[in-house]
């Protein structure tokens, strides 16, 4: 059986495992060292329990991370792994994925790692569409260095490095990724295992770069950053679950919906009762033009008032590493005669 048979084109070429696997197979003997209550635990558990479902050979999976609390992730995964350099995981993973088509390569990174020091490698991996699954743990703070604001922190944030409040306008990671030509972008919540697993599965199925932003609570330095998305009272009025092919509506009774402003093309939230069901935007992850997904990403600013969760975009576009391997394979039609390469065209001979 191959990953194609499994319906996972994103993992084409990666050998599958015939036996049964459980989450335990993916755990290492290393003690997990995050703070009590850290959202990273939930993500780790989700990944460890979801990976066996993919049915891959464990030894053909590689986790590559940068530096940060979240970047400790590989130590806890009983696969191959590298805890590399702050911000550089996408670059290292690009080299690995390009030279080895038989591996499933995952990148684990934080909001500082991916968007501050590592911003450039991230956007280039996305535009190249290298076959990487990038899990961006966004806790909107630098955890490991003890609480400075990050590129996703809200404006005015008081932290150790900004006692009078931060001044930078934050990135919206989904918008940034779409601006960088990403072929797959999703968002998930650390605390919602089911939804997180769904997005991870969709990412795994995608061939090319898949960026998954995971809102992750840091109880020590930014506690409750996403509480409004978890609070039973507020949750339903804030979270907009995205389901491909369905009109976008949410709220306890599905009373809210997303409509397009005909004048500007921007999306906004409206009451279904007021606008009518047929006015709702139907979610479509497959649109080639990323303008729709981009508009969707603008529904939520850093205030989290209306926050789409799920897959924003998933379109098919050749993956860099596939193309690179294809070029090498095509070139092999030419014989690799080292001797004639070294000689070249212009030689002369000196006789004894």
């Amino acid at each position: 059986m191959t990953t194609i048979d499994l319906g996972l084109p994103g993992l084409a070429g990666v050998p599958t495992f015939e036996g049964a696997q459980t989450a335990k197979d993916y755990k290492t003997d290393q003690e997990v060292r995050w703070c009590p209550g850290c959202g990273d635990y939930a993500v780790l558990a989700a990944v460890q329990s979801f990976l066996p479902e993919l049915g891959l050979r464990r030894e053909n999976i590689v986790f590559i991370s940068g530096i940060g609390c979240s970047s400790r992730f590989p130590y806890y995964m009983n696969t191959y792994g590298m805890h590399s350099i702050h911000g550089r995981a996408p670059a290292i993973a690009t080299g690995l994925a390009t030279s080895r088509g038989d591996l499933s390569v995952w990148v684990v990174t934080g909001d500082g790692d991916a968007l501050s020091i590592g911003g450039n490698h991230l956007i280039h991996a996305l535009r190249r569409n290298v076959n990487l699954k990038i899990l961006l743990f966004n806790n909107r703070i630098y955890g490991l260095t003890k609480g400075q604001y990050s590129p996703t922190s809200e404006e005015g944030k008081v932290t150790k490095s900004t006692p009078m409040g931060s001044l930078d306008h934050p990135f919206n990671p989904v918008s940034l990724a779409l601006g960088a030509e990403a072929s797959f972008v999703g968002r998930a919540l650390d605390s919602d295992r089911k939804q997180l697993t769904e997005v991870l599965r969709a990412a795994a199925e995608h061939r090319g770069s898949a960026l998954v932003e995971i809102y992750q609570n840091c109880p020590i330095f930014n506690d409750g950053a996403f509480d409004v998305l978890k609070d039973a009272g507020e949750r339903t009025d804030r979270i907009i679950p995205l389901r491909h092919g369905e009109p976008i509506r949410f709220g306890a009774e599905g009373q809210h919906g997303v409509v397009r402003d005909p004048k500007t093309g921007a999306l906004r939230v409206a009451e279904v009762a007021a606008v009518g069901e047929q006015a709702l935007v139907v979610h479509d992850v497959t649109l080639d033009d990323p303008s729709y997904a981009f508009a969707l990403s603008r529904l939520s600013g850093s205030e989290l008032d209306h926050t789409p969760i799920g897959v924003f975009r998933s379109v098919s576009r050749p993956a860099y590493d596939d193309l690179a391997r294809a070029q090498v394979a095509a070139a092999k039609d030419k014989p690799a005669d080292l001797s004639s390469l070294l000689r070249g065209k212009d030689t002369w001979t000196v006789l004894d």
């Binding site: 290492t28 130590y75 350099i85 690995l96 080895r100 490698h121 390469l341």
Partner: protein, 627 residues
């Protein structure tokens, strides 16, 4: 049309010479590099030994006719084995006033000067600061001047071709080449073949260039202005098949060969930068050898991708120059900590900062040694000539694969662009560099675990276990590792031990003993060099010996670790002189390690040493000891 340009018919005096240095100089747009290259090929095909020195501006094409826009190509060919492209030209060909102005001071009195007069207009002269026309004001009286209206002659010859005036005149470099080919009895078929191939899609241009070339040849043959032609006989080199090769090409071929000898795919992750870019360009052509080239978004990503590929079992390579190494240092540190094979090719150029991108220098040695946080030792090798780049690529690969360590290879702009004849190796004779990957758990505690930091007792290398190998799943990274198991460890003693182990591993790399060139065996002064100064130092030593003095020469190719015999060797001499194109970097290392009072001779002018200059320096040291 059939002009026999291969043989002279007019009777001219033929001087036999053992060596000649020619310099072509013109505007960047005049095609001087091509002209020089072709003459080099002709000389090579004829069997001369040769060495070349291209010199071009940092701008792509600085404004025409200006001093910064001058591009030149110097070539030295001889009937014996030579070591440098020559200090000064015997013949200088200049295509415009700017070229004259910036090159004439290098031509020794009595030298031959061939001038394309067409460009010596009032405007062009003023532009470069000539108040009067040097061709007319007597200022060139000490040279043998040949004024030739090359552009005009070329244009006239090409009139029947129907080419525009501008296009026709562009072929004037081929006129110059033809003229020089005639003067030096060079074979010409190769150039004609080359032109026809190069312009295969533009046959009119091809024929125009061939015609210009022949016109130049015929000009020498038929006009009477050139009374003498010269003959430089083929050199008596070791038997074998030769080709001409530049350092960057040799390096690229060395990498291809390293992939073949190690049976590993090659992965080059890099970012363009002068003068290293040509390595990328060359390797990109050889995908059929299992070579992947990745032009990354920057130097950091380039080396990162190479390291990622190494992790996956490829021969990871990165190439750069100048500030590029600074950007790679953090990842080199990670490679040191993770103990993975990685080749870092540094084609040194003039610094600091952006510096002089197209000039040469050897000022990155201490950066290569020390340019990382913490104790992060790496192996360092340095080729000594263009052809040696091939061997050093294999040597660097041997070290990287055997010891699981990053290796820095220090070439420089002079070697990279310069060329020399290369005795092409037989593929069967290339070394076997194949690798044994880990396939089984190896823990010595009976746990059946895989310990990624258990060392080979002889090399101190750790195992290389590739993703995809069942049972050897493991994690590596930049935090300090526990001995053997490779788990993260904050234990003080473990850290001290690991720092020393990493150092011991690099210190223990087996390298060939240094060889001394001391023909008389009586030298008291030792000249110690490294890298591209091999040619000038060697040539200077020959000259000093010709003056009847004894002098020894050692040229280091392994800079970290040094050859084991180096200390003893240094102790054999009364004086050690270290010429370097930096402020004394190797000298510093030698002084610190061997407490030898090595004298530095330094020059940081962006150009290789001249043998003449070194000769004086060395002779002074020899005489200083004798008196």
């Amino acid at each position: 049309m059939s002009i026999d340009v291969g043989r002279g018919t007019r009777h001219t005096e033929v001087h036999k010479m053992d060596r000649v240095v020619i310099r072509f100089a013109g505007d960047s747009g005049d095609g001087m590099q091509l002209t020089g290259d072709r003459f080099t090929s002709e000389a090579a095909a004829f069997g001369n030994d040769l060495a070349t020195l291209p010199n071009f501006p940092a701008e792509i094409r600085a404004p025409q006719g200006t001093l910064p826009g001058v591009s030149s190509f110097q070539l030295h060919f001889a009937d014996y084995d030579i070591l440098t492209p020559g200090d000064r030209p015997d013949v200088l060909v200049v295509m415009n006033p700017a070229a004259l102005k910036s090159n004439i001071t290098d031509l020794p009195p009595g030298g031959t000067l061939i001038v394309n007069t067409d460009e010596f207009t009032k405007r062009n002269l003023t532009r470069v600061g000539y108040a009067t026309n040097p061709l007319e004001d007597g200022s060139l009286a000490s040279y043998q001047v040949h004024s030739v209206a090359m552009a005009t002659l070329t244009r006239k010859a090409l009139e029947p071709s129907g080419l525009s005036k501008k296009d026709a005149e562009r072929a004037k470099n081929m006129f110059a080449l033809g003229l020089l080919s005639w003067m030096y009895h060079r074979p010409t078929e190769g150039t004609e073949r080359y032109l026809r191939e190069k312009f295969a899609k533009l046959p009119a241009i091809a024929e125009a260039n061939v015609l210009a070339f022949r016109t130049g040849w015929n000009y020498g043959e038929t006009t009477e202005s050139f009374a003498v032609t010269y003959e430089v006989a083929p050199a008596k080199l070791a038997a074998g098949t030769y080709r001409q090769i530049t350092g960057n090409t040799a390096l690229a071929y060395g990498i291809v060969a390293a992939g073949q000898c190690s049976k590993l795919p090659v992965f080059l992750g890099t970012y363009p930068i002068t003068p290293a870019s040509d390595i990328l360009h060359e390797l990109a052509k050889h995908k059929n050898f299992g070579v992947t080239t990745f032009q990354a978004e920057d130097e950091i990503a380039g080396i990162g991708a190479a390291l990622g590929a190494s992790f996956g079992g490829a021969l990871g390579v990165t190439s750069t120059s100048g500030p590029g190494i600074a950007l790679k240092s953090e990842t080199i540190g990670l490679a040191v900590m993770t103990e993975m094979p990685l080749l870092v090719l540094d084609i040194q150029r003039g610094g600091p900062s952006t510096g002089l991108p197209t000039k040469t220098e050897q000022a990155d040695l201490l950066q290569a040694m020390f340019g990382r946080n913490g104790e992060a030792p790496v192996a360092i090798v340095a080729p000594r000539s263009p052809a040696d780049c091939f061997d050093m690529a294999l040597e660097a690969t041997r070290i990287a694969l055997t010891y699981r360590t990053p290796v820095l290879l220090l070439s420089d702009g002079y070697i990279a662009n310069g060329s020399e004849p290369w005795l092409v190796p037989e593929v069967e004779n290339l070394p076997d560099l194949s690798v044994r990957f880990a396939t089984e758990p190896n823990a010595t505690d009976g746990s059946g675990a895989f310990w990624p930091y258990l060392r080979d007792p002889e090399t101190l290398a750790r195992p290389w276990a590739l993703p995809g190998t069942p049972g050897l799943e493991h994690r590596i990274g930049g935090l300090e590792k526990a001995e053997n198991t490779g788990s993260i460890s904050y234990d003080p003693d473990n850290h001290d031990r690991m720092v020393r182990l990493r150092q011991a591993k690099v210190n223990g790399i087996a390298v060939a003993d240094a060889e001394v060139d001391d023909p008389s065996g009586a030298a008291r002064v030792l000249v110690l060099g490294w890298g591209s100064s091999f040619g000038p130092i060697g040539a200077a030593c020959r000259r000093v010996r010709r003056l009847g003095m004894d002098i020894a020469h050692v040229h280091l190719r392994n800079l970290n670790p040094f050859p084991k015999n180096l200390g003893a060797l240094l102790a054999n001499y009364d004086k050690v002189v270290v010429p370097e194109m930096n402020m004394g970097q190797l000298a510093l290392l030698l002084r610190a390690k061997y407490l030898v009072d090595a004298a530095s001779y330094t020059k940081v002018a962006g150009l290789p040493f001249k043998a003449e200059e070194l000769q004086d320096v060395f002779a002074a040291f020899v005489k200083g000891l004798d008196s």
